[in-house]
């Protein structure tokens, strides 16, 4: 069934379809309508779940961690400073290997206060051990939530579904609501790897020692380092599982297919623009305009940012002359994190470095600064024509 709704409603309907049993969230712009919608659905009896009103985002994720530890399917959502307030628990959820799902409605981080969109919030959580997916439109939000639960439960790793504040969260767009019968085929009932059981009490995530040691049953238990190694190992394996999840989804629903990267006119492209989120769909118009001028341009959307699809990106980019990475976030003091990651992937995987494409980083849309198509076309023309300069260019800066 097609409906026309906003991105937050798309996310809420995805959470409902996924059969989330516990929702704990604290409202923050631009995530608020998502949690309001979920509480409405629960209040109306359309969704069988516990809604836990909490006093902060830290508590929201803590409540979800507790719920997930008992074997419940748990969900939360936040934005910007709310996400940062969760930070300690974000690390915790990954280390505890809990298959939570969280929507991050991307918003700029204070100071100064800014409620509009960029990606600094979720990018700053890159190294927490969560899987991060980025949606480009409403269909990818609602489908993404379902895939996120499937992927989280297959890997015992929590998943963030990130989508652009306002640009997606508050705009209305037609999208297909997945049929319940198909969802039931795609997303199997949650069987937790471990669930708290009052009849067999246990302490979870107790203090570990630098070395391995015997547990009470006499079995040799991991030390901290082994537990963290396994998280890294499973995150790398999640690249394959993410694609398998995507393939299973496509088999049932007939859409999607690109779990890692989503190319648009990249096959013969001499220059490829790379980005995250809705910007990569806007860039499709830019590609058409510049192709009309004879520039062989393509755009590659990074759908899964962590674990980082280094091989898929290399395969997509290695034959280009140049790669331009446009980001709505940066690692202050250097450049955009995605740009650095792409450079590292190309350096790692391309043996003959004289054949490697140049990689040019650009920053755009910080704090919701309008990213105008004429600015993008002009900037890309210049980047393709000129020698790349050191450091990222800021598109649309008015200093």
């Amino acid at each position: 069934m097609h409906i026309i709704e906003n991105g937050n409603v798309a996310a809420a309907l995805g959470v409902k379809l996924a059969g989330a049993q516990v929702i704990a969230a604290y409202p923050i712009t631009p995530q608020t309508p998502l949690t309001e919608k979920l509480s409405e659905l629960i209040e109306a009896g359309e969704m069988q779940a516990q809604y836990v009103p909490v006093e902060s985002e830290h508590s929201a994720l803590a409540a979800c961690i507790a719920a997930s530890s008992t074997g419940a399917r748990a969900f939360t959502a936040t934005s910007a400073n709310g996400l940062l307030y969760m930070h300690e628990q974000i690390h915790w959820a990954a280390g505890a290997r809990l298959p939570l799902v969280m929507c991050v409605v991307n918003r700029a981080v204070g100071a100064p206060w800014c409620i509009w969109n960029d990606h600094q919030d979720s990018i700053s959580q890159r190294d927490t051990g969560w899987i991060q997916m980025y949606a480009c439109d409403h269909q990818q939000i609602i489908d993404g939530v379902l895939k996120a639960f499937s992927l989280a439960e297959a890997t015992s790793i929590p998943v963030m579904v990130c989508y652009d504040g306002y640009l997606l969260s508050h705009t209305y767009m037609p999208f297909v609501v997945p049929e319940e019968e198909k969802v039931a085929r795609f997303l199997k009932p949650f069987k937790p790897a471990y669930a708290l059981d009052p009849d067999n009490p246990a302490n979870l995530n107790t203090v570990t020692l630098p070395d391995i040691r015997m547990d009470v049953t006499g079995e040799m238990a991991h030390g901290y380092m082994e537990i963290r190694y396994l998280l890294q190992e499973d995150l790398r394996a999640a690249l394959t599982i993410a694609q398998q999840t995507e393939d299973a989804f496509k088999e049932i629903f007939g859409r999607g297919g690109n779990a890692l990267v989503e190319p648009y006119r990249c096959d013969d492209a001499e220059y490829i623009v790379v980005g995250l989120g809705s910007l990569t769909y806007q860039l499709r118009d830019v590609v058409e305009i510049l192709r009309g001028e004879g520039l062989k341009l393509g755009v590659l959307g990074v759908r899964l940012y962590r674990p980082f699809p280094d091989q898929a990106l290399t395969e997509a980019l290695q034959h280009a002359r140049g790669v331009i990475v446009i980001e709505k976030a940066l690692s202050y003091g250097y450049e955009g994190a995605l740009c650095s990651d792409i450079k590292a992937a190309l350096y790692e995987h391309i043996q003959d470095r004289s054949r490697a494409p140049f990689v040019k980083g650009m920053i755009a849309g910080i704090g919701g600064r309008d990213i105008r198509t004429p600015d993008l076309t002009a900037t890309l023309r210049a980047a393709i024509a000129g020698t790349p300069e050191e450091g990222p260019d800021w598109i649309g800066i008015k200093l």
Partner: protein
């Protein structure tokens, strides 16, 4: 010896003394039970057992009288704090009389539930 085959990918512990090693050596003060004040000891009946209930390390037995496993007791003093008849007092390990017997053998015989 590796841990590749361990059942969990997290830090997981089941209740029972000794999960953190022989933690009795951490103790600065030891709880000492006075059976003349202890309710189950005095009444020779199953009663009270608040010390057993509160001990976070399950090292106090639910017996008449309760016994304390010094091999694992960390000396947290929660039992002494909770005992309604003040039957447990905390004694500095340094002040322990020289003729006081050191617990000789490890009393731990594998995991057991806090029953």
């Amino acid at each position: 010896m590796g841990t590749r085959g361990y059942r969990y990918k997290t830090s997981h512990s089941e209740s029972g003394p000794g999960d953190g090693g022989r933690t009795g050596s951490w103790r600065v003060q030891r709880p000492v039970l006075n059976t003349e004040l202890c309710t189950p000891a005095r009444r020779k009946a199953e009663a009270c057992f608040i010390c057993w209930l509160y001990c976070p390390d399950c090292v106090i037995s639910r017996t008449i009288p309760p016994t304390i496993d010094y091999e694992y007791c960390k000396g947290c003093a929660i039992c002494a704090e909770e005992c309604p008849t003040k039957a447990i007092t905390m004694v500095d390990e340094a002040d322990r009389p020289a003729d006081d017997e050191e617990p000789t053998a490890c009393s731990y015989e594998g995991p057991r539930p806090c029953t």
